[in-house]
Symmetry: C4
Subunit: 244 residues, 4 copies
């Protein structure tokens, strides 16, 4: 039977290779969209890499499951990890592989400090922006009445959407493109919230009320200490007179 | 004369059935809009269910009123409940039945914790989004120059509105449609506020100032306690010398 | 020479009539825009009322100035009141009379509590929305390529602008119309900020950290009090043995 | 070898002239865009001033570097100053000179108080708005299918973008124009965040929980002081009886 630390050891060792695989996945996902006229062999290679990375993540999940003492508890307390493995199987929503990578990264990073939360959200937004643009480009490009036709258009549209500016010079026209767009909009709201919350927390922590009540307390404690010291002096004097 | 707890007992018992009726109402409201070509009998049934649910809620209000000790005070301290019963009588604004359901739910839920407030606002936003889309679809569909013509269009438009992205590829053209749209916009602002406030409150609660003044106080109180203890020892010693 | 309280007495007495005049001004401002085909006499009456109200506010300023002990200091410490009187003289920006009314109201109200600030901002936003819509309608209506042509259009456009949705189905095309629009946009940002800040402040005040340090302090103070009481008992016993 | 304070003395002296040069730069940057039909001599003069100011800032950097004790450490701890000097060399992004001026101003100002942060962000937003509008105008004006063709158009577009309203009646169509637009959008989000955070911090500081626990503590400390005083009186009385 495996020792309690076997899974933790595996997770520590697997972290580096999995991150490298995630970058590889991102490249293999982006390339066929940016250059659809690339040689057939290259496109096939990208496809294989895509599924290879998925396989590696699925394997990682199974190994972690196998190394767990209480397997049912592992499945229940890691729902995101399971989701990240199962979601990409739904073929049309290939971008969800990216979301699941973000979920995995977030889960493993143990979001501890304000800086880390902000970095994570900003990074996720940037990732969603780039890969959301790519995904919408892939879906819309073939449509006859589409307004998003080049990579530049797609990135520009993603920025106007995520910042909630929404000029409307470009907008997805297919159902799947619109579903992706809603994801970008909601990410944009989250980004706005994190930016604002950061500034607010910083203002409040730095320029907090000059706590009057607390100062009055400190004053009162000091007075009391003086009083007790005087009392002690008097008792000492008393001791002198009593001994005599 | 009814006992003071008679109304509370009724409200506890009626909560479950009223919630079920509310879900039934939502279905009966949505169905004729999603499928306007359904058989006449089905559409009539939906209509009847709509008004039946309204009747049940009106009855609930009257029963609660009857079971109150001080009826005038009940009416005055439950303005939302009265509004929820009276508003749907204004025929053209049928969606307000939904808003009144949300108001009722909010009132009964006693919004106690941050999680509940967020859940309630997010749920209300989702409900308003779906039923706002349905209501705008119903109003706009018949117009010759309308841009919102299918259910997909309406939901897409509702998302772009509530996130304040506002592409403008679709927009209501009728007066009633625009009134509904304003409701969605204001809900969107509320949603944005709740998201931001949540993150800000979490940041502030978690990474709050390491209160230096308070620590200094605790230190001062401890020192003082030591002082008093020493004094007590001295008095005890004094007692010994005095007895001798 | 007037007494120090003469001005305060005047301001208290003038508050009611000035508010009534402000409402009258709003009606006289709005009417000719909503119904430009009204009889010539009515339009002239509105014009006269407009300038009469301005005269009353100017008179109020002069009386307050006359009743002040230190007149130079009054002018310097009430820049908004001066602005509110001077601004409407610039003919093309008639809406600024409204802004100056809001400034006056805000200055006199002494914004003391969170509820009042919110009420004031929400009221100002509503006022700016309605009168911004009217002003833009007046400016744009005559233009050949304008998209804002009816009162309904103007109010709808004002809502989409202030909530920062910005569909773009309507937009001002004249320079003055765009200046007014920028005012609405900035008000919208202020509104969004106040909504969010309200929710955040409420969350933080209600679900604040369960202050552990403070509890520890209260505990320490209680312990100390026990100690002192025991000491007092011992001193009392000592007094008994010493007397004997 | 220079003394440790030589650099600080230089920076204090150079601050005024550099600010004047920054204003001169802004004028020389804006003039050729606002009036492209000005005499050739004037346009050349503006060009020379532009590069002259850059030269002065580069010189300032070199002097500060020369006066530093540990030069490597100066370079590493002032990355923004280096960026501000190097960035403008990339010819197409001339606006970045402005951004680098803002960076320099922010770095030297030691952002200490809430008022200063807000002033700095609001000022930067206004600067970015005006010069962003100018830069986009310069880039777009020549394009055949551009919608931004006059200075008025550009400023109007910049406002709709920075407030995230985004009507879409105007939008940049060139790649460089869009990059500039993204900068304005992100500034707008920062502005929104600062406005909201300000209001939130003000609400929280002003209407903070009426700290009940702290008041109870102060009360307890005062009671305790009374207790000790009574004890002291008793000891004094004891001293009297003991002497007798």
């Amino acid at each position: 039977m495996p020792q309690p630390t076997a899974r933790a050891r595996w997770e520590r060792r697997a972290q580096g290779p999995l991150l490298a695989l995630a970058v590889l996945f991102a490249v293999a996902y982006a390339f066929p969209i940016v250059d659809p006229d690339a040689p057939e062999a290259v496109l096939t290679a990208c496809h294989i890499v895509n599924w290879g990375v998925w396989g590696a993540f699925a394997l990682d999940y199974l190994v972690r499951l196998g190394l767990s003492e209480d397997r049912l508890r592992f499945v229940r307390s890691n729902p995101l990890a399971l989701l990240a493995v199962v979601l990409p199987l739904l073929q049309p929503l290939r971008l969800l592989k990216l979301v699941s990578l973000l979920l995995l990264a977030g889960q493993r990073a143990r979001l501890a400090s304000q800086v880390r939360v902000t970095t994570y959200v900003a990074g996720s937004c940037l990732g969603l922006l780039i890969f959301g643009a790519l995904a919408v480009l892939e879906v819309e490009r073939g449509q006859p009445d589409a307004s998003i036709k080049t990579l530049g258009d797609a990135v520009w549209w993603a920025f106007t959407t995520m910042t909630t500016v929404g000029y409307g010079d470009m907008a997805p026209t297919t159902g799947l493109g619109r579903v992706l767009a809603v994801g970008l909009m909601l990410s944009g709201i989250a980004l706005l919230g994190v930016v604002t919350a950061n500034i607010a927390a910083w203002f409040i922590a730095r320029f907090d009320k000059d706590d009057v009540e607390e100062r009055r307390q400190t004053e009162a404690i000091r007075e009391l200490t003086e009083e007790v010291r005087a009392l002690r002096g008097e008792v000492a004097a008393l001791k002198g007179t009593s001994v005599e």
